[in-house]
């Protein structure tokens, strides 16, 4: 039997998704600073993989946001 009150449904999933986004953001911030440092040091070969990985991380964040948005709309509309 689900003992979770209806108004709390989905909150754990949303919190989990938020924690994951924060983790992805930390990686992305590190990636940006590392790419910038290597670009400023004259190593331009890091720019392409840096942009691709950053794009993948952003896509993951966007996916998680859409997930949170969906849960929010589902739970609140009953």
């Amino acid at each position: 039997m689900n003992t979770n009150p209806p108004q709390n449904r989905g909150l754990t999933a949303i919190d989990g998704a938020m924690a994951l986004i924060v983790l992805l953001l930390i990686v992305q911030i590190w990636l940006l600073s590392a790419t910038l440092e290597s670009y400023l040091a004259g190593h331009r070969e890091a720019a392409v993989p840096g942009a691709i990985i950053s794009g993948i991380l952003f896509a993951a964040c966007l996916g998680l946001y859409l997930f949170v948005d969906r849960i929010d709309s589902e739970v609140r509309k009953g």
Binding site: L36, A47, C61
Partner: protein, 170 residues
């Protein structure tokens, strides 16, 4: 499982300003998640900017500029000069009777002026104790992440010439 919310016929204000207090937890979390996602987009924009800069980068042309006469600087001595423009201070160090090195004087951490520490035979930044090797400008200690850009030198007719910068990205 579908990832997108169903299109809602309710007005937008009802989504953003819930009537029930319990619903506020969802709205706050959703808005915070949106903020985090936008931050992630800003990071991506930064990476794309670096990518664009490196794709359209053209190697700059450097002037050949006399910086000192051969015997103007004593062994272990230093001369400050500007290269490639008047806003770029550099340090020339005579490390031996026939050997000279020159580096940009701007620390690669936060641009403080580095100086030559003769006793330790290294370049030091007084701001946060960043130390650089005199041999190749690489970081020995401290917060800087990048080596000092090096000035390539040539000796011609008893004159030392600066010919280009090495290890400089932007």
């Amino acid at each position: 499982m579908k990832w997108f919310r169903k299109p809602s016929s309710a007005p937008l204000w009802q989504d953003e300003f819930p009537v029930f207090t319990a619903d506020e937890r969802y709205v706050n979390r959703r808005q915070f998640t949106k903020f985090l996602t936008l931050t992630s987009f800003a990071m991506l924009a930064g990476n794309l900017w670096i990518l664009a800069r490196s794709l359209f980068h053209r190697s700059p042309s450097y002037p050949r500029q006399p910086i000192a006469a051969a015997d103007e600087v004593a062994v272990g001595g230093v001369k400050v000069f500007a290269y490639p423009t008047a806003e770029d201070p550099c340090l020339l160090v005579r490390t031996g009777s026939d050997s000279y090195v020159a580096y940009s004087q701007k620390c690669t951490h936060l641009s403080c002026a580095v100086y030559y520490a003769k006793e330790e035979n290294r370049l030091e930044c007084p701001c946060h104790q960043g130390f650089f090797s005199i041999a190749d400008g690489s970081v020995l200690q401290g917060p800087p992440q990048r080596a000092l850009p090096r000035v390539a030198l040539e000796m011609k007719g008893g004159q030392l010439l600066a010919v280009r910068m090495e290890g400089e990205g932007a």
